[in-house]
Symmetry: C2
Subunit: 244 residues, 2 copies
DNA sequence: GATGTTATTTATCGAACGATAATTAAATAA
DNA sequence: TTATTTAATTATCGTTCGATAAATAACATC
């Protein structure tokens, strides 16, 4: 199922550039290169490559494969991360915490610009951030694994993005004052969010041919949504969530 | 990571109901139960349980775990499936081919009912079919694995569902004749499809609390979409896909 | 009841996995 | 230069995995 390139069999190989000195010409074992790096840089380097590998294969990717890509031996990983799960946790932190931009929320709340412009600008920047194999694939791997990364991230999206959008949209339609959005209202905006997110899943995970480019898709989706959401918001506000 | 319940150590155990006769009271090895089933039933039974297991754990679920749940020994699986991948293929067939309903397309094309009613009815039935852990989780597992199940399924969705919906909607708005839908038009309906699908992902994969029930979500999403899509379709039709 | 077929189990192989202990050598300080 | 520290490697353990070969026992046929 995996390569195992016959070059180096079962034994753990150091590798990464045979010692440029023509040292061991005997052909047996090449002198292993041993470059000593600062722990801080190594830590970052390990996480960076781990993101790459996990995005490709998933979390069942072997630590030996990761070490090989880094040009180090497998046990070295355990000097920097007590266990594989700790490495995975560092990956989560890097992607889903460090890449979150507070200006997303701020931009959406900037009432000096029309609501459509704010929403389109947000989704263009948001798509530019998360429509990468690392972000989307690892996000789905994590979700299927059952870690609560996704629940927590979805909570953040709802609080920092969807509720502000909902309120701003309601305001722009002259509906309701400052009451918090109802679940039905927020759910409406989840549908838009999910529709745009799923564009990325089709493109990056399924590798489905995407004849419509991102900005066009976003513009049309937001236009359709904003045109249609007015009456629905009005209806929801009028009957105060009473069922038909 | 897995249980390994101390009861049965490394050795492959037959199991499944100790022989109800109080046979081996010596405590050592229980007489293994050997019931002989018809190959046809076994095949179905294996696929059924495999779906259950793969939905929980993913395709890296062990064949031993599957055998244990079936109450048989692990090598028996290889009498019915040449390899694990063949078992997985049977799982795909069962879920994504056998569960497809041709009446979805037919119902969407039934011009005797209003377009909104057709679309809402379709999504309610569609959600009832695919919003299960087996369907959604295995679908995402397959997508991340790189098999082309998802590309093929998405093609079917586009051809059997989204293009009919697009044409029917265009007709109901009095726009365009029988020309095939443009990619931009189809992409609009992909956004609705993705938005609704992602509701299922949040509910079933992320286990996000869902305060709005499915029928309400579907009704509001379709209402918003159908209200807003008219002007956008009109704009797309008028300028013949020329960029702004 | 004897015989033949085959569903099922027992036993086992080789590879890959996560992780640990002991050893080696590169950088730093004396 | 020599001594100290520790980054990095070598070697290896115990498990689990997918898969195969051989032995066994349940059912069908005569």
């Amino acid at each position: 199922m995996i390569n195992a390139t016959a070059d180096e069999r079962n034994v753990t190989t150091p590798m990464a550039g045979r010692s440029s000195s023509l040292a061991a010409a005997e052909g047996k074992a090449l002198a292993p290169r041993r470059t000593r790096n600062k722990p801080e840089e190594r830590h970052k380097e390990f996480v960076r490559k781990a993101i790459e590998l996990f995005a490709e294969v998933g979390f069942e990717a072997g630590t030996r494969e990761l070490a090989q890509r880094l040009g180090v031996t497998q046990p070295l990983l355990y000097r920097y991360f007590p266990s594989k799960d700790d490495l995975i946790a560092a990956v989560y932190q890097e992607i889903y915490v460090n890449r979150w931009k507070p200006q997303w929320r701020e931009g959406l709340l900037d009432e000096s610009r029309p609501i459509r412009e704010r929403i389109v600008a947000f989704y263009e920047d948001y798509a530019g951030t998360i429509f990468t194999p690392e972000w989307i694939r690892i996000y789905l791997f994590a979700g299927l694994r059952g870690v609560d990364i996704n629940r927590r991230y979805a909570t953040t999206v709802e609080e920092q993005i969807l509720r502000p959008i909902t309120l701003a949209t309601r305001t722009s339609f002259g509906l309701g004052g400052g009451e918090p959005p109802t679940p039905e209202e927020v759910e409406l905006f989840w549908t838009l969010q999910g529709g745009i997110f799923y564009y990325g899943v089709r493109e990056i995970v399924y590798r489905f041919p995407m004849p419509v480019d991102r900005p066009t898709m976003i513009r049309n989706a937001v236009d359709t949504f904003l045109t249609g959401v007015g009456p629905v918001l009005k209806r929801l506000a009028e009957r105060g969530d009473a069922p038909a």
